[in-house]
């Protein structure tokens, strides 16, 4: 089965660790990768798709040495393989302009302001991954236990993605 990955990008290792710990419960179903720069993130993203898997969610910081998070997300969105990937900014420093740019040009799905609450981050990650499963028209059964079961059940009801057999 194709795996759905979560990719966390932040130049501060301790922030990455915090994010990873917050969403650790998801890791059994959605393997988590971390990158300390957008260059590293890009390599990992390519690697995920080249292995036949999918990138479901990117949790990305904005201000980092080298390329910033918003530009990375915009560029990611242009590639077909990452078109459905859910893009979330986790930042305290993205100004209005950068954020607007991310929304308009990178189809940003969510903005999380630092500092965040662990339960909020988990809820947002689950919601975004639920949307990813639905929009990618995947079989929702393997993900129902971990994600929003009600939304995925509704998706089965209306979309016939699972049928009698």
């Amino acid at each position: 089965m194709k795996k759905i990955y979560i990719l966390c990008v932040d130049d501060e290792p301790e922030v990455l660790l915090a994010v990873e710990q917050n969403i650790a419960d998801l890791e059994d179903t959605f393997p988590i990768l971390t990158a300390e720069s957008t260059a590293e993130a890009r390599t990992l993203a390519k690697q995920i798709t080249s292995e036949g898997n999918q990138l479901g969610l990117v949790l990305c910081d904005h201000v980092m040495p080298g390329e910033n998070g918003v530009d990375f997300l915009i560029e990611l969105d242009k590639e077909d393989a990452f078109n459905n990937t859910r893009k979330v900014l986790v930042t305290g420093q993205a100004g209005l302009d950068a954020t607007v740019k991310a929304v308009n040009e990178g189809r940003l799905n969510h903005y999380i302001a630092k500092p965040w609450k662990a339960e909020d981050l988990v809820a947002i990650a689950k919601d975004q991954l639920t949307q990813f499963v639905i929009r990618s028209k995947m079989n929702p059964l393997p993900y129902m236990m971990c994600l929003d079961a009600e939304k995925l059940a509704e998706y089965i009801r209306t979309d016939g993605s699972v049928t009698d057999r």
């Binding site: 059964l141 079961a149 509704e154 089965i156 009801r157 979309d159 049928t163 009698d164 057999r165």
Partner: protein, 467 residues
């Protein structure tokens, strides 16, 4: 890439199965039978190991039949020389437009319009209301509502809808209350059992009905319901008591939100009318004499004509389920026509089992297999053998072929031990309040009782309808 994995091994096995009869040349089987056996073996292996989706296997069957066994096929000449008259390729293609498939298509149209306008949800609220707020009756209400809906819609879609109804109930209950398990299990059990109630309830019914029709036994929509509904009612009550016994609730009262809002847009009203009218015409088939497959075209044509369903809705039908069934029916044709079914039957001395023993063996195998693989496939593999047994006369004069077919069709729906047994079971696991062992416990008890009751029906009640 590692090329030796479960998938490639299954594919290799399937192809080996397809070619095996050509190399071994089984004794007593005509060339057409050898070809059919190859197709049967390949289909069986593919259906069980699932290297490709089960409906894709059904499509392959039709392809192979058209190329290998039909009058326009590669071997038409040599088959004729061997004394076998190949079937028309139209017979194989025609399975997709057979009356039972059209009946299902009618059901799909109704279900699609019901989902589109939320009729399934409204009906649930309406059906649940009389059951009040006492836990044990809420449980019965959930099972009855699920069963009623799944009798006309797919078991899976019904379960998905009901899960959205019960998740808030589960969230409301205290941590560790066994009633959570009762609620979560009542849905798949209700859906699996409810599918038995009407011909369109679940695909295995189609396999059984098509086989009966092939043997000249025409069962009206209402006749099937008379056969099945009493069984469904008994099973529901029994399963209800079993669930409450296994997981006694700790709460004695709780709130259940039932805001029954009816969609009253013109399109919705039309869909309700078409739904009601079709169902009424189906269940009164005996009174007016118009076949249910004829009536089925009413919703198929009327709903798009009245702009209730659009092209997107029609694309959204579960066409792969229809192909799955069509391929199954098509395989059955060749099993009978080439004499393969009788040949398989001849390999065993059945008369020593007696007619009751035969029924039990078929029932047990169907039940066991359906717990592990698709219910439709289980019925598809076993029903032609029951037909072969009846036609060849190997089972003795008191073997009732018709009843054995219905029995197979029913017991596959009673298989619900594992999360993989049926899609409703898999969906119910997503509530995270049941473990596999809870499901197994309930599934085994319901299955054992269900099997015995079905056996009772096939000995005492069904002979009143199927001679």
């Amino acid at each position: 890439m590692n090329f030796i994995n479960k998938k490639t091994i299954s594919v290799a096995l399937g192809i080996a199965g397809l070619l095996l009869p050509q190399f071994i040349g089984f004794e007593g089987l005509e060339p057409a039978g050898q070809l059919a056996l190859g197709i049967f073996l390949m289909a069986g292996i593919f259906w069980i190991c699932e290297p490709i989706p089960i409906f894709a296997t059904s499509l392959l069957i039709i392809l192979l039949q058209v190329f290998l066994l039909s009058e326009k096929g590669l071997f038409a000449g040599s088959l004729l020389e061997s004394g076998y008259t190949p079937q028309s390729y139209k017979d194989f293609y025609g399975t997709m437009a057979s009356p039972i498939i059209i009946l299902f298509l009618g059901g799909f149209s109704l279900a699609a319009s019901a989902v589109k306008f939320g009729l399934d949800r409204t009906l649930t609220r309406f059906l649940l209301k009389p059951f009040g707020s006492k836990p044990q009756f809420v449980c019965l209400g959930l099972m009855v509502s699920t069963a009623v809906l799944s009798a006309f819609m797919s078991n899976t879609a019904t379960t998905a809808m009901m899960i959205t109804v019960v998740l808030p109930i589960i969230a409301q209950l205290k941590e560790g209350d066994p009633f959570k398990k009762v609620v979560a299990l009542s849905i798949p059990i209700g859906a699996n059992i409810g599918g038995i109630a009407t011909p369109i309830g679940t695909p295995p019914n189609a396999i059984a009905l098509a086989a009966l029709r092939g043997q000249g036994i025409d069962i009206a929509f209402s006749t099937w319901m008379m056969l099945a509904v009493p069984l469904v009612v008994i099973m529901l009550i029994l399963a209800w008591r079993i669930l409450l016994f296994l997981f006694p609730p700790a709460t004695d009262e709780f709130k259940i939100q039932l805001d029954a809002k009816i969609n009253t847009s013109p399109a919705a009203i039309i869909s309700y009318i078409v739904f009601g009218l079709t169902v009424i015409l189906w269940v009164t088939e005996k009174l007016h004499g118009i076949s249910s497959s004829v009536i089925a075209f009413l919703p198929i044509a009327a709903l798009p004509a009245l702009s209730v369903l659009d092209k997107k809705d029609i694309r959204g039908f579960s066409w792969e389920v229809l192909w799955l069934v069509a391929g199954g029916i098509s395989l059955g044709l060749s099993l009978q026509h080439t004499g393969l079914a009788s040949w398989i039957i001849d390999q065993v001395n059945w008369s020593s089992l007696g007619s009751l023993g035969l029924l039990i063996v078929f029932g047990l195998v169907a039940y066991g297999v359906a717990n592990l693989i698709s219910n439709t496939v289980s019925a598809t593999i076993l029903v032609p053998l029951a037909v072969g047994l009846g036609v060849s006369g190997a089972a003795g004069a008191d073997f009732n072929m018709g009843i054995s077919i219905v029995t197979i069709g029913v017991v596959v729906s009673l298989s619900m031990i594992l999360p993989i047994s049926t899609p409703p079971n898999a969906i119910a696991m997503s509530t995270s309040v049941i473990e596999s062992k809870d499901m197994a416990k309930a599934g085994i008890v319901v299955g054992v009782f269900g099997f015995l009751i079905t056996l009772g029906f096939s000995l005492l009640y069904w002979p009143l309808f199927i001679k």
